[in-house]
Subunit: 552 residues, 2 copies
């Protein structure tokens, strides 16, 4: 009898996917992984620097290259990666495919959970690699690239297992025909679509890539992992771990290949347009994302840019609200795809349970809340992290030239620990609701816009319009009246944007929990895919039913 | 408490969708519907002729038109339909939408099953209308446009109900945080994508349209039904029945509008490109189908043309096989999208349990089997039916000029009952495997190609190539060796084509049973959609999750 080692884990994850209550397989506290794990991870990370990365089980590279730079030290990591010809990658994927395709989904899922366990053993290495490529704080690096990414991967595995076992593998179909009956032997096969590529981004190289990687693999497709050239190491470590388990289990490591490239010689378009590639997962800017979506004959999953709104109508405790929002906008310096950017506030101000505040009072309090967080020696630097690249730095630096009223001007971050850190504190701008030209663009990074509206109706109308035209992944709203809440919900949901109401305390709109929150809905220009709804899995394979007259 | 009248029907259908064993809600025997139902249906059909069709609950038409013609009498039906401006249709759909969208899926499903019951009461009218627009025999008209179509509709309703209730409407999400916990109130809404249009074809105006209509409706979207101008009446009756139930239940009949048009002033492109239309279901030729698939910003479901193959390797009883195939190719004169066209037979002939037959012997026996059926006074005319249009007649008539060896030349069908019937008996052609130019096109209608191959390997390779390049909805295969069977299965399934093995007796490759057989896989050029896999439903709405801090 077939033994599925991780059956219990898979079953629990399938159940969690359906129930959508709190569930996590991988604890988010670093302490859960042992006393010395962090220190050992730091050492292992140090040992990887300034040399070729040799842990991949891939051969036939044409050269070695690497161009990563720590936004904390502004020093190159010095790691180089094997570079492969696109044809080589696609051919090796195709060669590895049949054995995997012909392995039943429960065994595939079991092996893939085993790879997650192998990745878990490297969470801390991955965390340091994430920190020093993306600029995330250590804690965010650990959580986002470690337990949270693994939970998202398990979510995809579980959805793949559930969908792949949805119909009986074989059955007898018996149609009554008067005194006799007609019997057919039927079988249902979930046929994988073919080779996938997963194109990663520079800010969340693991979290945004694992779902696509595991969705491809669990549905029987080989996958080629194409990281951003400035953030390779974190996902290279994960791919190594996956390859090692695959090889141990008797499968080809080429089922999951790393396809590192360089800024000077990018490989993404060649891979996307390769006739041997059927599936594309992409996270990144909208321009390339729209190109990927336009490719015919490919099944495409995207997460692109968006403009996330906050609608402030009325609140219970304005200080609690603005503390929460100050943290949301400061977290990783606004470099999360879920970070709020546009704050719609009525010109008449905001009602609170302890009285009314004018628009200007709200603005002043928001500025104070941000300054209080940013200048907090225990919290500020760790919350803001560093800026992944110079473009984001320049955008932050030039935000005061956008034509808006500058409420708070950002400053270079002074860090005692990292004296060369690339960072910039948030810039807070005020505009009118007619200044659409300014606020209808994504200003990725630490730039916030407070938009003075006629009233909450206009706030809702503008937030909806931004989501519909430019995409949105989240919307936060503060309202105490149930009718206003339903009005906001209907408006934002109609453009396929979820709403988070009245967040205060230790929960932020930026956070989407695996097994419960769908990440991106797939319904507006922010992306056509969702972690992990059934479509994210189903579009990777095709149900085919064969029939046979019995006794033949 | 909410009472769902048809809960039991819905639950059984959901179960059947999963189990995929034999299941049918609507019996396929005319007798099941009462002694006088057929006669009454014939009378009702007669009463509809030569006058405007007034049963639709739609207003504001700009004119009346109709151009249907019976392929049996070659007389016009004389029925005219209200013609609407595209904008009017889209505006009315949008106006009707909110009430339906805000009705929970179980109530929508319940009302939709009620509409199926209303359609059931009109099965015989619809059957005669189908017969005299499509050219199907009465029995096929009854079954395909009646019980089989309703079963497919129920299948779509059940899938919509299942997917629409997959996640909890509301729940408490509680994350443990050491000694306390963080609690969020969450809700999941299945937001409909928007207005759908369903573009029908001239050969199966009901069967091919109901799944899209009911898939749109059950997921909360209004639908505009655009029939082929030569086959309006059958679906007009069904739409009337749906509208009447919707109105009785307090909803706008504009949730399901008929959009009849004329050959001279077609409306399909205008509707497809209308910014107010989000969903498109299309059945018909590949050229328009490819155009529909190329539209950006639309969710598209297609069933287009294909080239279906039969691979003959070895058989138990060649006479039983060829009788079965003769029926398959004669049924509705090859005008089913599932009809086989290309027969791949090795030049060395076919092994049977009672000895070996040469290629020429198989060809001769096939010819005899077709002639025996066609010339059978009890079976022939009723099996062949009539040809829907002159293009198909011309194609049949000119088949002997394709450059192939003519084994059996088709003849006009002589019918005593219908002296003016437009019909043509099957033409049987023989070609070599190198004559790809002849057999790689869909020859819709009663034209068959026997292709002499080097061996079964070449047969498989060619059948696979046809499916991959030109699409295929079915593949029949005859083989006694399990290894050969698996080889055929793997090859055809790899291009997302199902295989039916060793069909003899009262089961034909043309038939796809609701609740069990997926119709079209969606994986090859024959179409991108499948009746009814989960994707057929899921792509019509978007899951959106809202969150709120409790107590707020």
């Amino acid at each position: 009898m077939l033994t599925i080692k991780h059956q219990n884990t898979i079953d629990n994850a399938v159940k969690a996917n359906h129930e959508r209550a709190f569930y996590s397989q991988y604890p988010e506290h670093p302490k859960a992984y042992g006393e010395n794990a962090m220190e050992q991870g730091a050492e292992k990370y140090q040992q990887l620097l300034n040399k070729p990365y040799k842990q991949l089980l891939q051969t036939n590279e044409i050269s070695w290259a690497g161009e990563e730079l720590s936004p904390y030290s502004m020093e190159p990591l010095g790691v180089t990666y094997p570079i492969f010809d696109a044809n080589t990658l696609v051919e090796k994927a195709a060669a590895a495919a049949p054995q995997w395709r012909n392995t039943i989904v429960s065994v595939r899922a079991d092996i893939l959970v085993e790879t997650l366990e192998a990745i878990k053993d490297r969470f801390f290495e991955i965390a340091y690699a994430t920190m020093h490529t993306t600029g995330q704080s250590f804690m965010m690096s650990f959580q986002a690239s470690g337990p949270h990414a693994n939970d998202r991967a398990l979510e995809a595995i579980a959805m793949g297992y559930h969908e792949g076992t949805r119909y009986p593998a074989t059955l007898l179909w018996e149609k009554p025909m008067g005194k006799t009956s007609l019997v057919l032997k039927k079988e249902f096969r979930a046929i994988p679509k073919g080779t996938g590529i997963v194109i990663g981004c520079s800010t969340f190289p693991v979290w945004n890539s694992l779902p696509g990687i595991f969705a491809d693999l669990v549905t029987g497709n080989p996958v080629i992992v194409k990281p951003h050239p400035k953030a390779i190491l974190p996902i290279a470590i994960a791919v190594s771990a996956i390859q090692q388990v695959l090889q141990e289990k008797g499968f080809s490591p080429n089922l999951c290949q790393l396809a590192a490239d360089t800024s000077a010689a990018p490989i993404s378009k060649t891979l996307c347009e390769h006739p041997g590639v059927q599936l594309i997962d992409y996270t990144g800017g909208s321009q390339f994302g729209n190109y990927v979506e336009s490719l015919t004959g490919k099944t495409v999953f995207t997460e692109k840019a968006g403009v996330n709104s906050v609608i402030i109508d009325s609140v219970t405790d304005i200080d609690a609200v603005l503390q929460n929002l100050a943290f949301s906008v400061s977290l990783y310096s606004g470099q999360m795809c879920t970070a709020p950017q546009n704050f719609f506030i009525p010109q008449t101000g905001v009602t609170t349970t302890s009285g009314h505040l004018s628009f200007d009072e709200v603005v002043q309090k928001f500025k104070d809340a941000i300054l209080s967080l940013v200048n907090n020696p225990k919290m500020g630097a760790g919350t803001l992290g560093a800026l992944q690249n110079d473009t984001t730095l320049q955008r932050a630096h030039n935000a005061n030239k956008l034509g808006a009223k500058v409420i708070l001007e950002g400053q270079p971050i002074a860090s005692e620990e990292f004296t060369h850190l690339r960072g910039y504190t948030p810039t807070l701008l005020e505009v009118n609701s007619s200044d659409k030209k300014i606020f209808e663009q994504e200003l990725f990074g630490p730039v916030l816009l407070l938009i003075k509206t006629r009233d909450t109706n206009e706030s809702i109308q503008l937030a909806r319009q931004m989501a519909q035209q430019h995409g949105a992944i989240t919307c936060a709203a503060y309202a105490t009246n149930p009718e206003v809440k339903e009005k906001i919900t209907e408006a934002m949901n109609s453009v396929f944007t979820p709403v988070s109401f009245n967040f205060t305390g230790f929960i932020w709109v930026n956070q989407h929990a695996a097994f419960s929150d769908f990440h991106v809905t797939g319904g507006n220009p922010a992306g056509n895919a969702s972690f992990t709804n059934p479509e994210f899995i189903l579009r990777r394979f095709v149900w085919v039913g064969n029939r046979e007259v019995t006794g033949s």
